[in-house]
Symmetry: C2
Subunit: 475 residues, 2 copies
């Protein structure tokens, strides 16, 4: 075996690792394949991988082959200096996400860590009756595909709804997806390739960080505050000076976790900025229908004359979580997204779509959503009052104008990760600040869910949380 | 602007195109990005792209940027000589798929082109009542997540079902997906990277070709006949001599379109072959529950002691198409698939899953599926008899032992693409052979769906098809 030969092959693989052709954690070509590609025997190819393994650039997994190594802590640290969290950082976020999902299954008395309204906030009995009516009237909806006429009717009704919030769409520019999660995942798969960078808000909901991680993408975190929302100054700076991100994902209305609402003027400015820099925007409007004011805030998409915004919306929060009905309007990417969705999940449930059309048409949807909004607004006030009363001096929050989430900034010294451990022992959960960024910036913050009906037990739980926070600060 | 500079940049991009780093049809780095990467100004980067555009290696789309060109016809032809259909060939298949989907929406009197049973074959009224019962008993299922206890119960019940067909699985090795389409798409996303090769049967259902195309994958087509099923000889030859495919996707039971059932012995041989060559298998068992014999044929997975098979199954055909309930058991890839699914579509509908658990537990599922199987077996015989009576001499078919599809091989001279045009004029549809391969091998074949209730109109339609086929042969 020629020494120089295996080193040359190793060097080429290493180049692929550096260029991002093989993102961290991805599977590398099999030894047989590497050998075939370079016209050498398998021993030489294996020697190349072993060499890289000793240098900790690749790792072997029994029977699974070789994988691009995750960056070491040292590499991570230098990546963080650049403000570009590495994929490895995201992997850690991912495991925290799984942790949170685990908790939902656990026997925790007061669960405040999710971004969902409690099941009892939705009229299940009424929904069950509507489902049965829909199926009795149109038993053919049991088949997988939505009949074309039905589809057109549903899309028209969704367009009528969107028009109420100043968003004018054509019925054939609507695509239903499996929750908004699928809409965002499809959009990212279309717009990016592994190791690309995507601009996101920080703090940002960990589901998005998890999706970026699964696609091997890097997150460029742009500050977002409850008061001012996404910092356009920071975004503009990044667009001017950094490596250009492929796209921006932004929750324009009642951001998760800060609750920030981007003002109309900022939305228009953001759009001009995007046009100037050729930046595609994925607008996640999952909470828009949960407004406490006069009406659903106007989405960014409403002013998008060039089709640069992929607008993503969902009925999961405002109507029936378990129906998993999300939708998108993809601008100039729409046709490509429709094809991708077809090969990823084929179609959305015809029965749920058919029933949604019925409740949009007969006004039930509006009535149900209206009641949900009123209850959420009240619960938000109750929760915010209780937090301010119970938490240590210096705790700050801004009452959101919609959504499900209250972002609480405790005094800087507080470690909400440790607080959570104490809280879980008292059978109370919340989402600690550390899960909302790949960087350790929000360790003193926490996110509470006000989708739980107000109750004496909940009131006591907030008092307990506040007491635990105070105790930690006094230690 | 230095001449040699833009040419050097162009050469580098071209290398990326050749190596598959930029698969055909993919979006290339923006001009700004290319310029930044090479430390040149944007005019130089643009010149590089324009150079490649003149050479037809890239194509510009207004406001969208530059894209890797699809292979030209000449390139395709040479690719076909290698037996490796190019991605561009798949693009054509894709548009045919859309065409077929279009037809389902059209007003065609006799629709025989799908792989679905007609809506009336499913007991919608009974299903609606069961849905309502489930929701009345457990209104909390309206929330997005399936409570952990419920989840465990459903997985146990699915394991009990699978055990009836000799497949022993652990409850936590089950993952529900959005139809089997999502299960297969996730598996392919995990196992492959763009421009990898995947072994598939030929003929094969076009949905799979479409999925491969969307992921930028190449199909290595391994012959499959109604009598003998997948040719293990051809597969072994390919594994020994060709570039190693990343994985094999196979429909082991009642293949689409041939209806082939892989015998147990062949399944065991296939598994030994896969182990020997380090080949991961994605087993698509979408039709397994639609058996006409004694029981669901034993899946490949049942003998997989090493976790090399990703088993994909679905309740879409055997229970309720519109519920979109597929599932997989991923062997040694299971945990990675669960993470990927989480970030692609979050969770499957809790309500549908909850109701499925109820009907699995109370025996309704078995009763419904049993009735469906009996009706399908009868319809298959009626359709096969009618085809043999009506079609020209020399037409061959093999009665499948399950599934929904009858594969008809007409005399070699017949062009079923032309036949379809004539048939559509008579308001009859079927799936022409040409959509089942990227190569023009099955132009004399057609696939008929026996999921439609037998009726005098259907009988007349088959007689018409047979007459049109005979007329074409006599021309
Ligand atoms: C901001 C945001 N986007 C997306 C999602 C996922 O929504 P869906 O359930 O529609 O997939 C959530 C869920 O909480 C969210 O908070
Ligand atoms: C062989 C095969 N696999 C997968 C599918 C897609 O199934 P699902 O509806 O469960 O996504 C089909 C649909 O006809 C099929 O024939």
């Amino acid at each position: 075996m020629s020494d120089s030969l295996y080193l040359r092959i190793a060097a080429e693989v290493e180049q692929g690792l550096d260029s991002g052709e093989y993102p961290p954690g991805s599977r590398l070509p099999s030894v047989r394949r590497l050998a075939a590609e370079h016209g050498v025997n398998v021993l030489t190819a294996l020697a190349a991988y072993r060499h890289l393994e000793r240098r900790q650039r690749v790792s072997a997994r029994p029977r699974a082959g070789f994988f691009a190594a995750l960056p070491s802590r040292a590499q991570q640290a230098s990546a963080e200096v650049d403000g570009l969290p590495s994929a490895a950082t995201l992997v850690r976020v991912d495991s925290r996400m799984s942790q949170l999902i685990e908790w939902s299954g656990l026997d925790i008395g007061t669960q405040l860590h999710m971004a969902e309204a409690h099941g009892s906030m939705y009229p299940s009995a009424a929904l069950a009756r509507r489902l049965q009516q829909t199926l009795n009237q149109r038993p053919e909806l049991i088949s997988a595909y939505l009949p074309r006429g039905e589809q057109a009717r549903l899309h028209r009704l969704v367009c009528e709804l969107a028009a109420q919030w100043q968003l004018e769409l054509e019925p054939d520019a609507i695509l239903f997806t499996h929750g908004i999660t699928e809409a965002i995942s499809l959009s990212l798969r279309l717009l990016t390739r592994p190791s690309d960078t995507v601009a996101v808000e920080t703090p940002v909901y960990f589901g998005l960080l998890q999706t970026l991680e699964a696609l091997g993408l890097k997150a460029l975190e742009i500050p977002c505050t409850p008061d001012a929302g996404l910092s356009l100054e920071a975004l503009e700076f990044a667009l001017r000076h950094g490596p250009a991100p492929r796209c921006l994902v932004t929750v324009t209305n009642f951001q998760n976790p800060t609750g920030a609402l981007m003002p109309d003027e900022a939305k228009k400015r953001l759009l001009r900025l995007a046009y100037r820099h050729g930046l595609t925007i994925i607008e996640d409007d999952v909470f828009g229908e949960l407004y406490f004011g006069e009406q659903h805030p106007t989405p960014l998409k409403a002013w998008d004359s060039r089709g640069e915004v992929i607008y993503c919306s969902s009925f999961t929060k405002s109507f029936a979580p378990s129906f998993r009905l999300g939708w998108l309007s993809g601008g100039r990417h729409h046709a490509a997204l429709a094809r991708l969705s077809n090969s990823s999940s084929l179609v959305s449930s015809a029965l749920y779509q058919g029933m949604l059309a019925d409740v949009l048409a007969n006004g039930d949807y509006t009535r149900f959503a209206e009641r949900l909004r009123r209850r959420l607004a009240r619960q938000m006030r109750q929760l915010a009052d209780a937090v301010l009363a119970a938490f240590p001096k210096g705790t700050r929050l801004r009452r959101p104008q919609g959504g499900l989430l209250l972002w609480v900034e405790c005094p800087e010294g507080l470690d909400t990760g440790r607080l959570l451990e104490r809280a879980l022992a008292e059978s109370i959960s919340f989402a600690p600040g550390l899960v909302f960024s790949a960087e350790p910036r929000f360790g003193h913050c926490l996110r509470l869910n006000f989708g739980q009906p107000w109750s004496p037990a909940l009131e006591r739980a907030i008092a307990t949380l506040g007491r635990l926070a105070g105790e930690q600060l006094c230690q």
